[in-house]
Subunit: 292 residues, 2 copies
């Protein structure tokens, strides 16, 4: 199955970002892609660099907002399953970082609300997003059962495991991560490699392919209290042994298309039957904050 | 803190294996190592290539067996903390794959019984070892709190997480893993990389250094029904961002010594506060065999 990952620079104009995505999705579909995955919060700049109440204006209701209508139409017109990442307005004062998956007929196959919310300098997401309340449930689509999560979730093996136990065929992470230009280059590279490694680790531990789509390019800090973020791209797809199958550049836009063999995971799980041997009788304490 | 990893070829003589280990441990101590980690079942060939009742003769009681007495003396004489991997005889018909950690004064700091037991062609461990019944508890020593597990455990993020939540400073895996020579070279390399990657993933997800010590060299299949196992060495130590700090060769014996900065993990956990944001309210189903 051909899968497309769209790694894009963001501008301050949502309609500009949307139109460029529409064009690339069309191109992906013409090249045979049946599943297209977008980066986190692809319609806007990464506004979480500051805590600014004006940014709540970017949020929209789901399913009855303009963004949902737009991407439903794009999915239907191109006959592809589409994984989007939207800023969801539930009501005034209540917002989520939500992935909406559109079926190829334009209907909504399912939604996922980002469960783990980061907060560190330049990534003030706890200001904007209430942690998800829907749990870890893969979304059934015509191209497979998709374990869709979002960005910070990718650091949590529990999340990957729960999606896999629930029958996901793929793990998918729309992402917005990058480097602080003030960090030295070695630290920046360690962070990028850690981000790749932990996700490849989920692939290995669960015998499942993983897709991560990250934004790319520099975005300024509107408060000018930092030097902004260099989003490191590097979007990738890896197989169920954690092997990198395709990877985008770290510094430029890319439409990455890969023809994934979904049957390979079945065979990998036969030679490495990790699920057979889990010691569920001793995992109770995973639910504790710490064990002291 | 200087840590030594001893990667060794095994012979059919336990006393030969022990004497060579004794010599290398002495060498490590002379070079300043305070913690020495051995590979899985270092006293014998990897006898699990076949199911043969004679092999139960290799098992010994803990703490009152010859192997325990031997390694207690070696730890005391060299004033090092020593992580061993022994075939434990509880009573006739009941055996474990057990790691015994010796304090630098020769006392036993703690034991861990391998919790996840593999069974696949050439690795018939379920015949020999009852799955561990002690759970995942790090062992306190004079050089730190050691999250000691064994081999197959290394594929399970739950195990790494539980050890980390319980205060481990390091994750340590004595290991016996290698390639089936009949697999093509690409598959062999994917497997080796997967083994490295999943453990580096544990380091990243938990902000903790990881040490894996694997045996090396070819061992024949006594039944001649296969071409034996090429143990792939590649013992390594990685830091809390998953960064490889030192790694042994894949095809030769090695005494690998690295001076690890244990404080780095504290700083990494400050910039990446994954533990802060775990959704323990939604992890209940980790204890299920599957979620359908």
């Amino acid at each position: 199955m051909k899968i497309a990952l769209i790694q894009q620079r963001a501008t301050s104009s949502p309609s500009d970002n949307q139109e460029r995505l529409r064009s690339k999705i069309k191109q992906a579909a013409e090249q045979g892609a049946r599943l297209v995955v977008l980066q986190e919060l692809h319609d806007t700049l990464y506004f979480c660099q500051t805590e600014d109440t004006h940014n709540f204006s970017f949020a929209q209701p789901i399913p009855n907002g303009d963004a949902c209508h737009f991407y439903a139409q794009v999915a239907r017109q191109n006959n592809i399953v589409l994984v989007t990442s939207l800023f969801e307005r539930v009501m005034a004062g209540l917002y989520h970082n939500t992935s909406v998956v559109f079926e190829s007929d334009g209907t909504i196959a399912g939604t996922y609300r980002k469960m783990h919310i980061p907060d560190d300098p330049g990534f003030y997401e706890k200001f904007y997003f209430t942690p998800g309340d829907l749990g870890f449930h893969p979304i059934k689509t015509s191209v497979g059962t998709l374990g869709v999560m979002v960005c910070w979730d990718q650091w949590y093996p529990e999340a990957a495991r729960l999606m896999s136990l629930a029958g996901a065929d793929l793990l998918i992470y729309p992402t917005a991560i990058g480097s602080d230009p003030r960090d030295d280059r070695d630290e920046q590279e360690r962070q990028r490699q850690a981000w790749i490694t932990v996700q490849r680790g989920h692939a290995v531990a669960n015998g499942i392919p993983v897709i991560a789509v990250n934004r790319v390019g520099h975005e300024e800090d509107p408060s000018h209290s930092s030097e902004g973020i260099n989003f490191w791209g590097s979007s990738f797809i890896c197989g169920p042994q954690g092997e990198i199958l395709a990877q985008a550049a770290c510094d430029s836009e890319e439409l990455l298309i890969f023809d994934l063999d979904l049957n390979h995971a079945e065979n990998v799980r036969r030679i490495w039957p990790f699920f057979r041997d889990r010691r569920i009788d001793f995992y109770e304490d995973i639910r504790k904050r710490s064990i002291q």
